[in-house]
Every structure is written in C-alpha cells, then in structure tokens.
Symmetry: C2
Subunit: 119 residues, 2 copies
Amino acid sequence: MVFTERLQRVLQTVGGAKAVALVGRDGIAVERLAISDEPNLDLATAQFTDIAKKIQLANQELEAGSLREMIQRTDRYLVLLTTITNEYFLMMILDADGSLGRARFELRKVAAAFYDELV
Amino acid sequence: MVFTERLQRVLQTVGGAKAVALVGRDGIAVERLAISDEPNLDLATAQFTDIAKKIQLANQELEAGSLREMIQRTDRYLVLLTTITNEYFLMMILDADGSLGRARFELRKVAAAFYDELV
C-alpha cells in the first residue's frame, strides 16, 4: 500500500481525526493529508518538529533514550507524534475529544509498516 | 489532605511510577517525591517546564488554546505533565512500560483537588 493510502485510512478510521502527515526530521512533510483547514498543518509540522528536537536534547541529558512518542492535548486539539526512524515520524492532529487510544494504535501500525519500507 | 500525602498516594497507586512533582511555571518544584534516583528529577523538572513553555508558544500561534496535558514516551521513561492552573502543573515520571492510563487518571484527580486549593 502506498504512503497516501495508509494515511488516508488512518484519517478515516480514527474518530475526530483532522490531519495526518509523514514528516522528516527537517520539518518537511513527505506526505500530508488534512480534512480540516485548522490548525495550519504546515505551521504545526514545523513547530512540533522543532519541539521534538528540543525534547530529544532534553532526553539525551537525562539519559532517557530516544523519543518514541509525544502527545499533547490543548483546549482545541490533540497532537500525536510517533517516531518511525531517526529520520522520520508521523504526526496526527485530532479534535480535543478525539479518540486518543485509537489514534495511538493506528499510528503505531502505520509506523511499523513505514519502517519496513523506509529502512 | 496536604500536598505531600496526595502525591505520595499517586506514587503508591500507579504501576511503574518513579517520581511526581507539583511544579511552578518557573520550573521550581513546590513539592516533589521520588522513589528512584533516575532520571534526575530537578533536571527533568527544569527541562520539561522549558519545553511546556515552547509548546504553549506554538499553541498560541496555532490558536490551539491552552496546554492541558503532555505525554512523552522514550526508550526508558514515560513523562506526563498535567496543567492545574496557568501557574502550576503536575509532572510524573514512570518506567517506559508503566501504567499510562492509570497515571493520567490519578494525575487528573490530584490536579482537580489542587485546583480547588490553589485557586
């Protein structure tokens, strides 16, 4: 299955999903799909790539190992980052009351599939 | 119930819990309890306070509203931040395979109790 189809399926499967993207460590999306104009997906991608880098630096200092997953919930959104390799991660944005459990599950499945193709 | 007792109870209740702290936005812990020397709790507190600030700035730009909760999972740890007020949050560190669901639940209960006392 190609990247786009996998991401499309995640968007359709997870309740409250707004956008999903396969992102490089430089903050540029390899593939991106959104079913809502908000929040701005390019801006979110750039910002959370930057934040993930800062978290990685903190984790190095704490000897915590590599970042596997990050989740943040705000008044309006849930944002999930799931690491695929050192070079790529998946980012997903949902409504604040979206299905976090299902989103984590589907992202992990897609990350495993991408891992096999990317490595 | 005083702060320390509430935090002690969370540490005892949640599987895999290593440390829990009530932290001010300046990165200084009001109260802190750890049952493990790793990771360094003061360093973790300072770093995740700083990261939470960066996430807040990103959320402002994205018009995402306030940060309610942040979770990160690394090779070795789970770190949870739960917002109480604009001035205070709870931070909890668990083993990577600790009970995330229970940790979120217990932190939310404690955050609600602290909210009533702090506001």
